[in-house]
Symmetry: C2
Subunit: 346 residues, 2 copies
Amino acid sequence: MPETSPRKPSSIDVARAASVSQATVSYVLNGKSAGLVSDETRERVLAAARKVGYRPNSLAKALLKGRTNTIGVFVSFLGSRYHADIVLGAQEVLEEHGYSLLLTASETDHKARASRISFMMNHRVDAILLVGGFYEDMTQPLCLNEAVAERLPCVVVDDAYAHSTVDCVVSDDSQGLALAVNHLKSFGHSRIAYLPAPWKGTTADARINGYIRAMTAAGLDVMPELYAPPAGAGDEIANLALELLRQPNRPTALIAANDHMLGYTVRALRELNLSTPDDVALVGYGNQEIAMVMELTSVDQQPRLMGKSAALRLLARLEQGDMPHQTIQTPVKLVVRASTVGEAQP
Amino acid sequence: MPETSPRKPSSIDVARAASVSQATVSYVLNGKSAGLVSDETRERVLAAARKVGYRPNSLAKALLKGRTNTIGVFVSFLGSRYHADIVLGAQEVLEEHGYSLLLTASETDHKARASRISFMMNHRVDAILLVGGFYEDMTQPLCLNEAVAERLPCVVVDDAYAHSTVDCVVSDDSQGLALAVNHLKSFGHSRIAYLPAPWKGTTADARINGYIRAMTAAGLDVMPELYAPPAGAGDEIANLALELLRQPNRPTALIAANDHMLGYTVRALRELNLSTPDDVALVGYGNQEIAMVMELTSVDQQPRLMGKSAALRLLARLEQGDMPHQTIQTPVKLVVRASTVGEAQP
DNA sequence: TTGTATGCGTTATCAC
DNA sequence: GTGATAACGCATACAA
């Protein structure tokens, strides 16, 4: 057994085993042997490659070609199904085109972000995909400064930057709120409250504005006292919802900025002995697992679609670098469940 | 502006800019200039590197050194918070040691797995981390065949293989069930049912066996009629739970193989007008988000810990290749909530 | 039809 | 202290 060398077999080893030159091996293994290498030699090379256990070295190839076919993916919070789905959607498209993902998930660590991006650039990724809101009030996420300066294609998903130097992909919050409002209106609701998200950023703004626009467009009065400032953890949200629903002329319907908050709201409703959807109809946002389990109507942002859309944009930019940067809005859809149309629940 | 060349500046460019040789640049930039390079030269090199925007090329280094400092991570289902947490835990440890993650998530696509692993090997990853159960009745996951054959270090998280040729990390299901059973027993329960998982594999088996052992050890009768065969989707689980709870001498407590199933069970309980925890106490498994929202007592598998443990094992094996393969069990903990100790809920 | 030579960007071993 | 030079594995222009 030639178990002495821990080195992996290279194309030179294959060449030796097949008694040909290394160039011939390269031709054969890359399918460029048409009318160049004799069938007999071709077979001999293929057999030799199999015999020595040859495995092409992507590193060497990348070094030579100047591109790695690798996309650096930076996820702000991998633990959410939503972000994970975006990544999966992007992966599906990118792998189809021969790219693989160099992924890093950073949760809260602010300083480490730029350093991780820098690391990816050292690895010579062909482009960078940023997944998840970073909610900085700038023209681009701070951690992308170096990347943008070095003209590396960048796409940001789930956070839109004004006058951007990067491409952005966000789901259409305006459409989402319109779907929610119109759905409720079609069931006769007019006093529709909105429970905003407990975080700041372009997405939060887009949803509040979407709510206001949709209400106005539907000819309904915006209820300013009802979109209270966002609270923190679960119990506080429940309390906020309680307050909202104890008001003299309380809303007959409630739209929450995410399903998670709505989960706590359901608890609050029980305490007040209000039934859903008869007393208060509920629409969530995000169509998370909890919406399925608790039978909540919710706006599905179709994160996989967002990921795919971002990937396609990335591919386009890789082919043709000098395009104007744009913000792409992807469609959402309303998933109707018992919290708006079901039999009443105690 | 020298904007003509799209080529990135190399250490040679730095050398030219600093009027030194390329080797000197290498010494300075790798901190090996102690007593070798004059301070004055050192400064000049550093300044030149900054000026030309030098960025070391990991590919070239990897090609030369024969190691990429990259770990291939293969996740069977990234969409779950549980798997994501395992990845995050592993990432934390690995990045601390200078490794980065080449990640691929495959959901159901069976055939593509081996091909993705092969791709990682072409990229010359230093090791492979498999996250998520693959539930094949073998000595190792099929997609690792090539990797094992080529002696690449492999660690599998969340699925244990008997007489394994790889290292495995699983959370201690035996301990988890024991914690659950003893917790319930301490509240006077003796008729404790177990609702098994709707999937097969080593984990499912370990939990059922853990239940039986824990019950026996606690001096309680195992209730064979209560661990019915697993059902499929949500409604079926709810029906199964309904059946279980309609029995003449129904259990006073129920342990579910995961929180998700318990979510549906709660629905079933409401239909029967049974209260929690007075009529039936509930313990879930996994401590998912839904357990938090629905106030369910649950066994936390501490997935981050699992990830860290796997990463440490990987690092150990990278330092010293010839160790016997082992299966590591990581500790779990019980998170107590209202479904076992709270005021009764209607 | 096949073989030779070169360079991608590093690091490391030598002479100078 | 410093500067050539080799090697890592591959693709390709060019010579034979």
